[in-house]
């Protein structure tokens, strides 16, 4: 006979057992495969990092719920490459994270990192382990350039793939837009001395000069310094038609504020995808942000009907609107899941090498369309979208998609 007390205990034991069963719907025999997710969750890019991390997690959760790969349970393994001291991504932390992914035998692929500077530190480590990485937003061209194979493919095959185009396209295509559509004749270029900023600024200015735009000067800014007034005074003296800033928002918000304070308001101002972020509006704010051009190295699908279902699901789950790089992160995760699926179905054991080979030959239907890679790991279909900041009182001030108005696809030549 059960006493009242033991009844209670029995009931709670049952409840615990039921809870355990609920939280582990996959059967015990399922193989656990981890997908590493590296993002800059601390520092100036934290908002964007949270969006892309959740994009990857959503793909993983959906694959588990739909049992996309029979006998496999996916887990996200999230690491942060931002540090408080750096105030943004820290390459040293990224290298530590790469070693952690490699040390965990269940990790078969990685989504990320967001930043090119972090990617440069991670790729050599991933290469020795044959660990496939798919970045949603690291757009510096050097990492997939075959000329740098000794550095980024020490083990032979490329391990670094992207579901975005690169700055080799992002910078030059925007330069085409400056020359052909905006009719810019004279130009001043700034960068924030980061791997991304320097790369995109260089690619931009080379194409701009090919298009006949006169380069009046190029300055490098220390992202931790506060005062760029001396540089903007120099630019004001030269009086160019347009300004291009290559870099992320840590220096970017100060560039936007001080350019507005010092330069004539008629000057054309633009940057790459590094300035597409909420801080553009929450920290720099209007009127300084008004009119700035920015790009994304992916097709702008968040306004497409096909993506609207994804956006609704994402908003319901995370209470925030996804942006274009959330979608490329989701797409990259789909590619890894698809690669694992093909390896599993071929009957071979799931190894990092087999997954990498499967990623290299991927042809996966994703939100941005079919994703396939060339021999260097770059996406085959390269589209650059252009946006312009324009005050939109109907949208929240931190709603990046609401404040950056889609202008169109950048000219490819």
């Amino acid at each position: 006979m059960l006493t009242r007390r033991s009844k209670l205990m029995a009931a709670s034991a049952l409840a615990v057992a039921a809870g355990l069963a609920l939280s582990h719907p996959a059967s015990a025999a399922d193989q656990v495969i981890k997908i590493g997710i590296d993002a800059s969750l601390t520092g100036g890019d934290a908002n964007e990092a949270e969006l892309v991390k959740n994009g990857a997690m959503l793909a993983i959760d959906e694959a588990n719920a739909a049992k996309t790969v029979k006998g496999v349970k996916f887990e996200g393994y999230v690491l942060d490459d931002g540090t408080a001291t750096a105030g943004q991504y820290d390459p040293a932390q990224a290298a530590v994270n790469a070693r952690k992914f490699v040390a965990d035998k269940a990790v078969m692929g990685e989504v990320g990192p967001q930043m090119s500077g972090a990617a440069k530190a991670m790729i050599p480590i991933a290469s020795w382990a044959n660990l496939a990485m798919i970045t949603e937003s690291a757009t510096n061209p050097a990492m997939t350039d075959p000329a740098n194979a000794a550095q980024y493919r020490p083990n032979g095959k490329p391990v670094f793939f992207r579901t975005v185009a690169t700055d080799a396209y992002q910078g030059p295509y925007l330069a085409n837009y400056y020359a052909d559509v905006l009719k810019v004749k004279t130009l001043y270029v700034l960068d924030d001395t980061g791997a991304y900023g320097e790369g995109i600024a260089k690619a931009f200015e080379e194409q701009a000069q090919k298009k006949g735009i006169k380069l009046l000067g190029h300055d490098k800014l220390d992202p931790k310094a506060a005062d760029y007034t001396a540089v903007f005074t120099k630019i004001k003296e030269m009086n160019p038609d347009a300004l291009f800033y290559g870099g992320v928002l840590q220096a970017g918000v100060k560039v936007v504020k001080q350019a507005y304070d010092i330069l004539p308001h008629t000057i054309i101002k633009g940057g790459g995808d590094g300035i597409i972020g909420a801080e553009m509006f929450t920290a720099a704010g209007y009127p300084a942000a008004e009119g700035w051009y920015g790009t994304q190295a992916s097709p702008h699908v968040t306004e497409d009907k096909a993506a609207s279902e994804f956006i609704a699901k994402y908003k319901a789950k995370y209470n925030k609107a996804p942006d274009d790089y959330t979608i490329t992160a989701y797409d990259g995760t789909l590619v890894i899941i698809d690669a694992v699926k093909r390896v599993k179905e071929s009957g071979k054991p799931i190894t990092r090498e087999a997954v990498r080979d499967a990623v290299a030959t991927a042809n996966v239907k994703t939100l941005q369309g079919m994703v396939a890679f060339d021999d260097n790991g770059d996406i085959k279909d390269k589209v650059i979208s252009i946006f312009q900041a324009h005050e939109n009182k109907a949208a929240a001030i931190d709603d990046v998609d609401g404040q950056f108005k889609y202008v169109g696809v950048a000219p490819q030549s």
Binding site: A84, T229, A230, K257, A283
Partner: protein
């Protein structure tokens, strides 16, 4: 713009920046003069000051990109914000001294200095965790009034920086030269043992130095926000390092030296960015520091300290 206009504009840029460095440098110098301690917590007292100012302005109803104030409302809001910010920062400085440094007062070696580095990181991470990593738009009650001098532009915010810095530096000089506690500070700086024997309460002098230095840093932080319309948890390190350099350049422990050093560093930064490149600003600043220290090891206005032992 003619080249004269550009030079004039760079002087305006450089002196405004320099005035901010000078306020911050004074805090290093006050504490060093009395305790021979380099207080690295000062970097982030400046940063906390800018956030206190931000909170105070918001509490007074000044919104980012809101309507600018004029007349008495403007003066009242600025006075109240400066008073609260300086008081809060001053008390923070005193709190740091009481909690973290006083117990180490008689410990020889670098323990106290290392502790200040620790306190600096504590402040830095508290603000990071509490308020987030993103830069904050700083509300400005200043109307966007500016005066054209030829092709150069002088804005109200630059005038504010100069006026406030000069007033605070003048007030500090008066305080140190003519008040009783100021005299006690100078006496302690010269010879703490003798000062104590003459009845100076050294403990009170130390509290005064931390309060004044930190209050000036808080005022500097608030002016940083008003000038750049931005603040973030990382602003302390670059500004703090340059201000520390200014204090050493002018002669650490020397009050007029800190002011001179601050203005010089600001001007060097502006003209270095203009003539060479912004990326070389630090190289230029620290090269000049090394050169000055080679030829004048005690700094521009400093004297080699008499041997206190």
């Amino acid at each position: 713009m003619t080249s004269f206009d550009v030079y004039l504009q760079q002087v305006i840029n450089g002196t405004s920046l320099g005035a901010m460095y000078a306020l911050l440098a004074l805090g290093f110098t006050l504490v060093y003069g009395i305790l021979e301690l380099i207080n690295f917590a000062h970097f982030n007292v400046f940063m906390v000051g800018s956030f206190v100012g931000l909170g105070m302005l918001e509490a007074l109803g000044v919104a980012p990109n809101g309507a600018a104030l004029t007349g008495f409302a403007l003066v009242g809001v600025l006075l109240a914000t400066f008073a609260v910010t300086m008081l809060a920062s001053g008390l923070l400085g005193v709190g740091i001294e009481r909690i973290a440094l006083k117990p180490l007062r008689n410990v020889k070696g670098p323990a106290a200095m290392i502790t200040t580095i620790g306190v600096s990181y504590v402040l830095f991470n508290l603000v990071l965790l509490g308020l987030g990593a993103d830069a904050k738009n700083f509300p400005s009650p200043l109307p966007s009034v500016s005066f054209a001098i030829g092709g150069a532009v002088l804005r109200l915010r630059e005038i504010l920086i100069w006026v406030v810095s000069l007033a605070l530096m003048g007030g500090l000089t008066y305080f140190v030269q003519f008040t009783k506690i100021g005299k006690a500070m100078r006496a302690t700086a010269q010879d703490p043992e003798a000062a104590r024997m003459m009845g100076v309460e050294v403990d009170r002098v130390i509290i005064a130095a931390f309060f004044l230095g930190s209050a000036l840093a808080g005022a500097g932080g608030l002016m940083f926000g008003l000038y750049y319309n931005l603040t973030s948890y990382v602003i302390g390190f670059t500004a703090g390092l340059r201000a520390f350099t200014a204090a050493v350049l002018g002669g650490i422990g020397n009050v007029p030296g800190a002011m001179l050093g601050g203005i010089l560093i600001g001007l060097i930064e502006a003209f270095g960015s203009y003539w060479i490149s912004a990326a070389w600003a630090d190289v230029v600043i620290f090269s000049i520091l090394v050169l000055v220290l080679v030829f004048k090891p005690a700094g521009l206005l400093g004297r080699v300290a008499p041997n206190k032992s």
